[in-house]
């Protein structure tokens, strides 16, 4: 028996399961940061984490961090290099998997975090940060999104982080983890791999602004184990990232 869990805790667990042992991971903030720690604590003890500010860690920070630049993320790191150094490792092909989020996604896994006119008026978003680099250069990418119709669009207004396109050198979107389910993007179309417990195919279709494949026998997302929840609640004791009010991406 496991205790109750939040949707974001379920997403952290899904993110952690995308990391295989011995992989080099380009870690994002928020849920992927917890997912990396969880993977290290469970099935991927040998994973290495790269942060875009230049930090390389082989174990999670010992104290809660709000940003990757927070002092506890430096303590016990294996190296503190520069941004160009870790991006160079990424470009060289040394990174197996990277996590990115976005405001909008399309069926090819293109992410927009730059600007949109979906609401009628122009809205400026913060921009790429390192996401465009991870999308371009990682061995594969895992996308993390709020699942809402205005975010799931047939075509995004601006491709900040490129998805699948002809002539891609390597990688591309592999998995999309949302507030409703886990989706396989590796074939260049969106297919439900699992729906979170209690989520119906109808609900997913209504929240997705493009055609999406949901087969009859799509399983439910595996719920967090007691050990997984214990880790997450140790790493995020106040539910700052994993309480149900927190935004992803």
């Amino acid at each position: 028996m496991t205790s109750r869990y939040t949707r974001r805790e379920l997403m952290v667990v899904a993110a952690a399961r995308e990391i295989r042992d011995h992989e080099v991971v380009f870690v994002g903030m928020r849920l992927p940061l917890l997912g990396f720690g969880l993977a290290k604590a469970t099935h991927a003890p040998h994973a290495i984490g790269l942060f875009e500010n230049g930090v390389i860690r082989d174990r999670p920070a010992e104290a809660f961090i709000y940003t990757m630049g927070d002092p506890p993320n430096i303590v016990g790191a294996v190296a503190c290099l520069g941004l160009v150094d870790v991006m160079s490792l990424l470009q060289q092909g040394r990174v197996d998997v990277g996590f990115i989020g976005g405001a909008e996604v399309d069926p090819l896994g293109n992410l927009n975090t730059t600007r949109t006119s979906s609401s009628g008026a122009l809205t400026r978003l913060p921009g790429s940060g390192g996401a465009g680099d991870i999308a371009s250069l990682a061995g594969r990418t895992v996308l993390i999104m709020e699942h809402e119709p205005r975010r799931f669009r047939e075509r995004v207004d601006y491709v900040t982080s490129p998805g699948h396109f002809p002539g891609r050198r390597r990688g591309g979107p592999a998995t999309l983890i949302t507030t409703l389910g886990v989706f396989d993007l590796s074939t260049g179309r969106v297919r439900a791999a699992s729906l979170h417990p209690g989520v119906t195919p109808q609900q997913v279709r209504e929240a997705t602004g493009f055609a999406i494949t949901i087969e009859d026998r799509t399983p439910a997302t595996a719920i967090p184990t007691a050990d997984e929840l214990a880790y997450i609640r140790h790493a995020d004791p106040d539910g700052f990232w994993t309480g149900d009010s927190m935004k992803t991406g």
């Binding site: 709000y66 990757m68 290099l81 991006m87 921009g127």
Partner: protein
């Protein structure tokens, strides 16, 4: 040459209207907020801001009307998301219109690195297939002279001034920095002038005891400013924790033009300098944020 300046003197002498200023280069830590606020107080105009992710520093400068152009990968508020000052300027031209040169973190880094290396550009594969690099003024497709696949060339970017916050420097500007580096080194090497702001000015023997930790040699430095707490509310490894609440408070206040003006008055315009800012924060807050415990690196023996 005597390099030591007060922050007011350094900004007055070395940051001019229309300059391209690189700052916030270590990403979320060591953001030189004291310098940001001094630039706003001195009413510089038409600045170009350069940085990877700027957190709320760029947003404050944009909201104050000091900025004409931003060259960056991300402009917002790391804790809150959107940068409302940036959005108002970009979407509505308030308080003035700004030009945005969008980058990814890597292409900002490569642009500074190219300048730091004295090259016109550096090639990369990043961004291919996306919209950032399409029609970009500083990123163009090039062939590989060795016959490999096509690349993108990222043109060199040379800031007029880089503003760096470090833990310690000597009076000659030789600067020790540890923890997050981000693009600090590339920017300091690329810039025409570099203002080093430090938690403490130390005797040169301290710097020479550990030359591998010198990220900026003093001959590249144009001013040394001792300004403890000058990066707050961002963190400085071994000196200050990140103060989370002011980022959220600014995020809330900056939702409206009136709110951001009121924030700027309270925290920038009505205060003469950083000492007054720290006093306004209050001793209880400073005590909570100041790092008192020790976690020193193991000794490195430099004996010949």
């Amino acid at each position: 040459m005597k390099l030591k300046r007060s922050l007011r003197e350094a900004i007055a002498e070395q940051v001019h209207d229309g300059d391209a200023i690189a700052l916030g280069l270590a990403l979320e830590s060591g953001i030189p907020f004291a310098a940001v606020h001094e630039i706003i107080r001195q009413q510089r105009r038409d600045l170009t801001l350069i940085g990877p992710i700027s957190d709320m520093a760029f947003d404050q400068m944009i909201a104050a009307g000091t900025v004409a152009k931003v060259i960056a990968a991300w402009v917002g508020n790391v804790a809150g998301g959107s940068g409302y000052g940036f959005r108002r300027a970009y979407e509505q031209g308030q308080p003035r219109r700004i030009v945005m040169e969008d980058h990814s973190n890597f292409t900002v880094g490569l642009a500074l690195k190219a300048a730091a290396m004295g090259l016109p550009y550096l090639p990369t594969f990043t961004g291919i297939g996306g919209d950032i690099v399409r029609g970009h003024p500083r990123i163009r497709p090039i062939g590989d002279p060795f016959g490999g696949p096509d690349l993108l060339a990222v043109g060199a970017l040379r800031p007029d001034v880089a503003i760096i916050h470090v833990q310690r420097a000597d009076a000659q500007g030789n600067a020790h920095l540890w923890g997050n580096l981000g693009l600090t080194v590339e920017a300091a090497y690329a810039a025409r002038q570099t203002i080093v702001i430090c938690e403490e000015v130390v005797p040169e023997a301290v710097i020479r005891s550990d030359p591998n930790r010198t990220v900026i040699p003093g001959f590249l430095v144009s001013a040394v400013v001792e300004e403890p707490g000058g990066a707050l509310p961002s963190s400085v490894q071994g000196y200050w924790r990140r103060d989370f609440e002011p980022f959220l408070a600014y995020h809330r206040m900056s939702r409206t033009p009136e709110g951001v003006q009121s924030w700027l008055r309270e925290w920038v315009l009505d205060l003469p300098d950083r000492a007054a800012y720290l006093q306004h924060m209050g001793e209880a807050n400073l005590a909570r944020l100041r790092v008192s415990e020790r976690r020193p690196a193991a000794e490195a023996n430099f004996a010949p």
